[in-house]
Structure formats: C-alpha cells, structure tokens
Symmetry: C2
Subunit: 338 residues, 2 copies
C-alpha cells in the first residue's frame, strides 16, 4: 500500500501533467503544491511510484508522466467528480429545453457535451429495447401492399412497406389494425412477440398469410429498432491534443466512424454511475491512447441509453466526469417531460 503522501504526489503529478501537458519534475511539484517536503523526498516517492507502475519517464532525465494505471488510481481513489457551477447548469438546462424533437435533443446534447468538455462527444439515441409501443398503423398502398408504421413512446416513428401474399380487404385491415393495437399498445418491445403469436389464427384462411407477413415484419422492425444509433460531435477538438501527430488522431477518427465500435464502447459502461475507461482498457486498438468517460441516461429511473466523451488519457477527469454526469441528468429530465 502506498503511503498517504505518495498518493498525494501522484495526484499532484496527474493534475500538473493534465494542466501543462509536459512531464513533471520533482522540483516543480514541490513548488506548485505545498507538499511540505523537499524535492529529494519527492524523488524517492516518485521512484517508488514508478516501481509500482503508476508513473513513467519518457526518457532518462525527464520528468514523470502518469501511466494508464496511474490515471486509474487517480480516478478511483484520488479524484472527486467536480460538479458544475450553477450558471453552467442553468445554461445546460435552458439550451436543452429549447429542443423541438428527439433529433434536436440528441443534437444539442452532443454539441453541449463537446463544448463543455472540449472533447469529442458521443450520444446514443434513447434505446428502444425498453421502450413501448405507442401505436401501430397499417395503411393500404395497393391491394396487396401495406405500409406498417410503428410509433414508440420515445417519439420515434418507423415505417416499412409490406408486400402481402394475397390482396387484403379494407375491413380485414381495419380489423387487424384494431386488434394489433389493443394487444400491444403500451407494451415493451421485448414483450410483444408472445402477445401476437396467435393473431393469425383468428383470421380467415385467405388473410392468414398476410397477417403472418405483417406480424413478422413488425417483429423485425422492433428488433431492428432496438439497434442503436448515435451521434458524435466535436471532432475538431481532437486537433487540440494532437500536437503530436496526425498519426495519433487518424485511428481515433477511424474508430469514431465505426458506429459499431462506439456502441460497443458505450455498451461496456455500467448502467449507473459514471464509467471511465482509460487507455488500454479500451479494447479497440485505435483508442488505446484515449479515455472514454460515459454514463447512462434515461427518462425515468432506468437508463435507456448512454452518452459520453472520448479524449486523451491526459484529460481533466473530475471536470469531464462532472460535465458528463450533469448533461446526462438534464437530458433525462427533458426526455421525461415528453
């Protein structure tokens, strides 16, 4: 176990490094933080911290830099989430409140997060796996061609054209529409399949095929809609911390374009509380020198989706975590209001 002071030294190193982006030496440390000990003592502590793998030297005779492990300890033990100031909170709230629809909410959230953290923001659309059916509509486009429209309680609308095996009368259509709605409105997506399984049986033989087709199309839509979409923003912020190289930012940009990667990344986060994944803790290769700070958000108690930011491992964790948490909270509120 590291002594209290050594932890203090580690904290100081992380803070200074995050601020200056330069390896920090023993002398500078004692000056900028009143550690009450001499540089020499700090040097001993640093040697110990390095021994344990919390910090490293870019080269001999340079200062120390935190390792992923060091940041991990910092985040877990040494840092408190920094709450936002009241004006900031108010600004967030009013900015989000003026959103007109779901797309707008997500769009604004992304911009907000990117601006607050000055990093790349990622916001997942509210997931539909826990959302419920608000309404299903069936429209005849042609005698044997229907349009299926699904409306969810999160405000999304999905439509799909269904080609029927046989012509389908207007009365049958109205019948199916009514029965379908009476059975599944208000139900969760995952609960729908058993509720409609026997529906074809109650129709005439000639319509049965069409009903089955419509149902399987509906179920497909439900499954597909559970697939998650997301929005990213603030990529220009990447250039801030890539004084190093285009080499650094290229893989990150690539990873960001792979929605699958991002979804997986967010998916790995805990459902509640802020999750921080540091450097190599991220499975994806292009993101091994970045950290991901994410959190679930939702309109009620349950998290229906995640949001977060991607930035250099050398980031202001307390501030970022605070911003992410606050934004998630307010987005949740906004969603709940609709």
């Amino acid at each position: 176990m590291l002594s209290e002071r050594r932890l203090e030294v580690l904290r100081a190193i992380v803070q200074d490094y995050v601020g200056t982006e330069e390896p920090v030496g023993s002398k500078a440390l004692t000056e900028r933080h009143n550690l009450q000990v001499s540089p020499a003592t700090v040097r001993n502590d640093m040697a110990a911290l390095e021994e344990e793998g919390y910090i490293a030297q870019p080269h001999t005779s340079a200062g120390r830099v935190p390792t992923d492990k060091g940041y991990r300890l910092f985040v877990d033990k040494l840092a408190d989430v920094k709450p936002l100031s009241t004006p900031e909170r108010r600004a967030i709230q009013s900015f989000l409140e003026s959103a007109v629809d779901l797309d707008d909410v997500v769009g604004r959230t992304v911009r907000l997060l990117a601006q607050l953290t000055r990093q790349v923001a990622v916001v997942q659309y509210p997931s539909l796996s826990r959302s419920t059916v608000r309404h299903v509509e069936l429209l005849a486009l042609a005698p044997a061609r229907l349009m299926l429209v699904l409306i969810t309680d999160t405000g999304r609308v999905e439509q799909r054209v269904v080609d029927c095996p046989a012509p389908f009368g207007e009365t049958s259509l109205a019948d199916l529409r009514a029965r379908l709605n009476s059975r599944i409105v208000g139900e969760r997506f995952t609960d729908v399949p058993p509720l409609v399984a026997d529906l074809p049986d109650s129709f005439d033989a000639e319509d049965r095929g069409t009903v089955s087709t419509v149902l399987s199309s509906l179920l497909e839509t439900l499954v597909e809609e559970t697939e998650e979409r997301l929005m990213i923003g603030g990529t220009a912020n990447l250039t801030r911390f890539a004084t190093d190289f285009p080499l650094t930012i290229r893989p990150v940009l690539e990873a960001l374009e792979e929605q699958v990667v991002l979804l997986k990344l967010l998916g790995e986060a805990k459902d509640s509380g802020v999750t921080v994944r540091i450097g190599h803790e991220n499975a994806h290769e292009g993101l091994t020198s970045t950290s991901v700070v994410s959190v679930g958000y939702g309109s009620g108690d349950e998290a229906v989706a995640k949001l977060g930011v991607v930035g250099p491992t050398r980031m202001d964790y307390p501030g970022t975590m605070g911003a992410v948490r606050a934004v998630a909270r307010y987005v949740g509120q906004i969603l709940a209001e609709n």
Copy 2:
C-alpha cells in the same frame, strides 16, 4: 491567350504535383512528360504561367505549384472527367442495391464516396421540396390529442403530436383523414397549401378549430421537412493530406460540423453537372485550402439533393469528378426504384 504548349506545361505541372505533392521543377517535367522541348524552354513557359498567376513558387529556387487559378483552368479546359472502370461501377451498384432503407442508402453512399475518393464525403438527404406526399395519417392519442404522420415518396416518415382546441370525434377524424388524403396524396409539398386552405369550411363549427390546427401543423411539418439534413463520412481521410499541421485540418473539421455551412456549400453547386469549387472560391474561411466537388442527384430527371466530396485543392480532379458523378447516378437509380 496561352499557347498550346504552355497549357500542356500547366497540365503536366498539375498532374505531377497532385501525384507527388511536391513542387515540380522544369527538368523533372521534361523527363516525365515528353514535351519535346528542353528544360530551359519549359522554364520560360513557367515564368509566363507564373506571370499570369496560374502557378507559384513556394520560395525562390523551388519548383512550381499550381495556384487556385491554375487548378481552375485545369479543371475547365485541360481535364476530362475520368470515368470509372466497369468493375468499379459494378461494385458501386451492388453495394448500393443492398441498402434496406433511406438512411441506409445515404449511409452507404457516404461510405462509398469516401472510399472511392479517399476524401471526406458529404451527402445531402433527398430534399423534400420537390417530393410528394404519399400518405397522411391521423391517429387519436387522446380525445383532444392527435398524432399526425406524414409519409413522403422518398420514404421519409415524420410525425407530430397535435393538441386540439376541442375534442375531436372518431368519425370526424376519419372524415378529415379521408379528405386530406384524397386532396394531397401525390402532390408536391409546395403545392399543398392552396389545396387544403378551404378544408375547415366544410366541417361543423365545433370541429373547425381542430381542423385548422391540424392543417397548420401539417404545413409546418412540410416546411420543416424541406430543411435539409446531411451525412458526412471519411473524415479520417483528412489526416492523409494534412502532413503539414493540425492547423490545416482543424478549421476543416469545424466547418464540417456546421451543417449550415455544408448545406450552403452544396447549395451553391449547379443543379446539373459536376461543380468544382476551388480553394478561395469557397466562401467559408476554413475551407479556403480545400476544394469541393459536388453534383446533384435525384430519382428522376430532377435533382432533389446534392452530394460531393471535400478535399485538398491538390486533388485528383478527373478521378474525383468521375467518382462523384458515377455515385450520384447510381444513387439516383436506387432511389427511382423505390
């Protein structure tokens, strides 16, 4: 007027510079292109071209680099659009054909363009200003609360909740739905307003308020839907040509996040044919060292939206123009099929 050979020299310079990314000198030119004249002659020609502002020297005793004006001349007079190879075409077609819905078409198009041109691709969603109404649906959510669903011929679905001034009966609802559809299905958005203006008059006094409310909501949706959305991709390609600096790519990333800027950029393009805007021809400040190659596409004869790529002024114009044009053509086909 520049002599034939001088134009040839300019073409050679552009081609070489695009290939090597390095200022090109007189000797190299005579070697790589059989100009049938000596370096000294080429030097004279270059001096003339520089005099006219078509090329420039980064510094004395360096080779020449084309200016925006030089590229302009190249694009207008010296270059032919390079058609894609048959296998390429086939690949495009089959890749786009497997798209399942509009989002997917646009998404695939973006990826395709980015990959083909190795640059940043921008695709505007098919504009609705020229699209037509396929169906309007009205659903009662509560006695005085309706949901309005608009389905367009481009496959987009938009919905909106309408709060009514008074309860609205199921029969009135069915009535309104039927009349609305019979009047505006198949009509263009822009033609809708006059067609529905007198609709409230034919309803009972008690329902008139609600009908008006629904109509204004519908018209609003039509207008809003005319606003254009777009998708971008391939931002990682920016790093390829920014060996120079993060300084170069930052403003570009910023501009790319401003949808307004991009829409304006695409909007400036001609409706038919490939448009190329080079360097300072782009109004936006962050894009003065990039070129935008864009083209309209559409399901029929009319262009309903634009797509294009953003890249360094030093780009392979013939190839890029060919790719952009080909992709637009195939996307149009795909859209027409639906």
